[in-house]
């Protein structure tokens, strides 16, 4: 206890250099914790792009390819799923709900997705959050469209706006469905998922704009929008579909059943595990970030070591006095360790404190800009481990000046003269 008081008073006596060391440690802890937080939030958001969906089914290709085009709207399907097979599968008794997905068109760089109203009912992201409308409602008519937040924001679209869809991903004059314009009836709230960048229309809308098209180009026989309304718009095929099951336990049984589907080659994936696989491939940047932050922390600790070492000579007299009044050499080492402990733990404290302050400050901004709800949590076990390792390392490093001081105090004895 007396040693504690001594160490505290001695450290206070050298508060300028020590607080500089403390600040550099606070900054590195802030950085490390911040990167850790961002990394976890990014991973969390990524893995929660889709939730509560048990299976995604598409034509047989690779699981990641299927996930990329069905959820992230990246790349293209190699083949379609026939509407008959879709109907067969959703009639299976373990299926609770289904959402068909029909891709292939775009509007000014944003992908168009044909689906049903079930999409707005069943698609969930993050912590089982449902899609919400910023304004308007789901589509009811063939030529109604519901756009994501980013689409509305970037193209400055509002309700009632008429838009022309293009065939394929690249818009050219020849591939525009300009004879059948769509009207925006709903704008979704920000979700932080690819939904924000998607234009949703009904399956029959997709069918309608492709009537009279063959092999990806317009036939010379044009059929007007009004005529199309009257003809039957039952789709022959869709790109993929999402399934929700009655009981989670049936997931793998149904997955196997679909993968062995006789009528056509299909692939069913469990989105959660495929997302995790994908994250492993794209998530290596988090390791690089963490490595850099760890190095910054190490350099902060080295700064502390330098500070402790640089004061050794001026503290020689102090150590001799302490030895004269009965301090053992190990007391001298403890003094150095306690000092390092003060500096690093207050560095950790201020680093974590500023992390929370900044999180509280930028939370509304993040929600507005990225649709991410930045959860302000208590430190998790991993972050605690980081803090403990930092303190432990500092104790370990403090043994170096401690040992030198110990050696000095042994040779100096009680009679330092300078």
């Amino acid at each position: 206890m007396k040693l504690f008081k001594l160490a505290a008073k001695s450290a206070w006596n050298r508060k300028t250099s020590l607080s500089l060391a403390m600040i550099s440690i606070a900054i590195s802890i802030f950085l490390l914790m911040g990167v850790d937080k961002i990394r976890k939030e990014a991973k969390n958001t990524f893995l929660n792009t889709i939730s509560q969906t048990d299976l995604i089914v598409g034509a047989r290709s690779g699981p990641i390819n299927l996930l990329l085009y069905s959820v992230f709207r990246i790349g293209n399907a190699t083949n379609n799923v026939s509407y008959a097979s879709y109907q067969d599968i959703i009639k299976m008794k373990s299926v609770k709900w289904s959402v068909p997905i029909s891709l292939g068109d775009s509007h000014r760089g944003f992908r168009v997705m044909g689906t049903t109203q079930d999409f707005f009912r069943h698609y969930q992201y993050a912590d089982s959050q449902q899609l919400k409308f910023l304004s308007g409602s789901a589509f009811n008519h063939i030529y109604d469209a519901v756009i994501g937040y980013d689409v509305a924001h970037q193209l400055k679209y509002s309700l009632g706006k008429q838009i022309i869809l293009s065939h394929g991903i690249v818009s050219t004059k020849f591939s525009e469905h300009d004879d059948k314009p769509f009207r925006i009836v709903g704008i979704l709230k920000k979700t932080g998922t690819p939904v924000d960048r998607t234009i949703h229309v009904s399956l029959s809308g997709i069918e309608a704009i492709h009537i009279g098209w063959q092999s990806g180009s317009r036939s010379s026989l044009s059929i007007s929008a009004e005529q199309t309304q009257e003809s039957s718009l039952k789709p022959k095929s869709i790109t993929a579909f999402m399934l929700g099951l009655e009981r989670k336990i049936d997931t793998f049984r149904l997955q196997r059943k679909i993968n062995q589907f006789n009528k056509e080659p299909l692939l069913a994936i469990v989105p959660g595990s495929t997302l995790a696989n994908l994250w492993q491939m794209v998530g290596s940047f988090e390791k690089i970030l963490m490595t850099i932050s760890t190095l910054v922390l190490l350099s902060g600790l080295m700064g502390l070591l330098t500070t402790l070492l640089s004061t050794l000579n001026e503290r020689r007299r102090e150590m001799a006095v302490l030895r004269a009044v009965g301090a053992h050499p190990y007391h001298i080492m403890i003094l150095f360790s306690l000092e390092a402990l003060f500096v690093v733990s207050s560095g950790c404290f201020f680093g974590v404190l500023s992390l929370y302050l900044i999180q509280i400050l930028i939370q509304p901004l993040i929600t507005e800009l990225y649709g991410l709800h930045l959860a302000i949590n208590f430190l998790d076990s991993e972050q605690f481990v980081i803090l403990i390792i930092a303190v432990f390392l500092s104790l370990l490093l403090s043994l170096i000046p401690g040992y030198i001081a110990y050696k000095q105090s042994l040779t100096d004895g009680l009679t330092v003269k300078f």
Partner: protein, 229 residues
């Protein structure tokens, strides 16, 4: 001699076997309550002798008994404890820790020695009394030692050496930074306080002027049988 507190017998010391001996003392006995002045020029082995008496350096050969304890038989940790329990030490200068108050500086040995603490009823009162007797102005007690003059600092060092009534006070040229007037005043106070608690004083200095104030004077060159280079 009655009640010897320190007995040296045939003590030899050198830093290594290849270099010349620094200390070769056949016999030195110091009695309880004595005021011993050890005089010697620089390099005569005064400091090494003090280091041997305080157990900082172990002799290569011979016996060092302090308060009937053979120092050679103690481990370094035991020596540290023995030193703080029984010895009060005053340096030439810079005796005090700048970041502690006067009172805390005086109380330091009691933080490390239960034995010295046990001889005191009220640590605060005892340290206040000591400082007052050593003529330190009361308004400085709670202040940092940086506000003190060198003479005042040395008197605070005396208070620290005396607190908890250690049997032996060891002073290594404590007056060398003081002027003549302060030197005498310092000695008077040191003697008065040490006598009050019957402590033995071992005072080392190169200054022959001080010798006449001591009851016993030992010339280093008389007891140390080494060839000085």
């Amino acid at each position: 001699m009655e009640n010897p507190v320190i007995q040296l017998n045939d003590v030899h010391f050198s830093w290594s076997s290849h270099v010349a001996e620094i200390i070769n003392i056949n016999q030195l006995t110091i009695a309880q309550g004595e005021h011993l002045f050890i005089q010697g020029s620089s390099g005569s082995g005064k400091t090494t002798l003090l280091n041997i008496l305080t157990g900082i350096n172990k002799p290569n050969f011979g016996s060092v008994q302090v308060l009937d304890v053979e120092l050679n038989n103690l481990s370094s940790t035991q020596l540290d404890q023995f030193r703080v329990d029984h010895l009060g030490v005053i340096f030439q200068q810079f005796n005090l820790l700048p970041y502690l108050t006067l009172l805390e500086n005086v109380q330091l040995p009691c933080w490390f020695s239960d034995k010295r603490m046990s001889r005191i009823d009220d640590l605060h009162q005892t340290s206040v009394n000591l400082l007052q007797e050593l003529q330190i102005p009361k308004n400085l007690f709670g202040k940092s030692v940086n506000t003190l003059s060198v003479g005042q600092q040395q008197r605070v060092a005396v208070a620290r050496a005396l607190i908890g009534s250690p049997e032996i006070i060891i002073a290594d040229e404590p007056t060398s930074a003081l002027d003549t007037e302060n030197r005498l005043k310092f000695l008077e106070l040191l003697f008065y306080e040490a006598d009050q608690q019957k402590s033995t004083i071992i005072f080392v200095s190169h200054d022959p002027y001080l010798a006449k104030y001591f009851s016993r004077v030992v010339e280093m060159s008389d007891i140390n049988q080494v060839d000085l280079i």
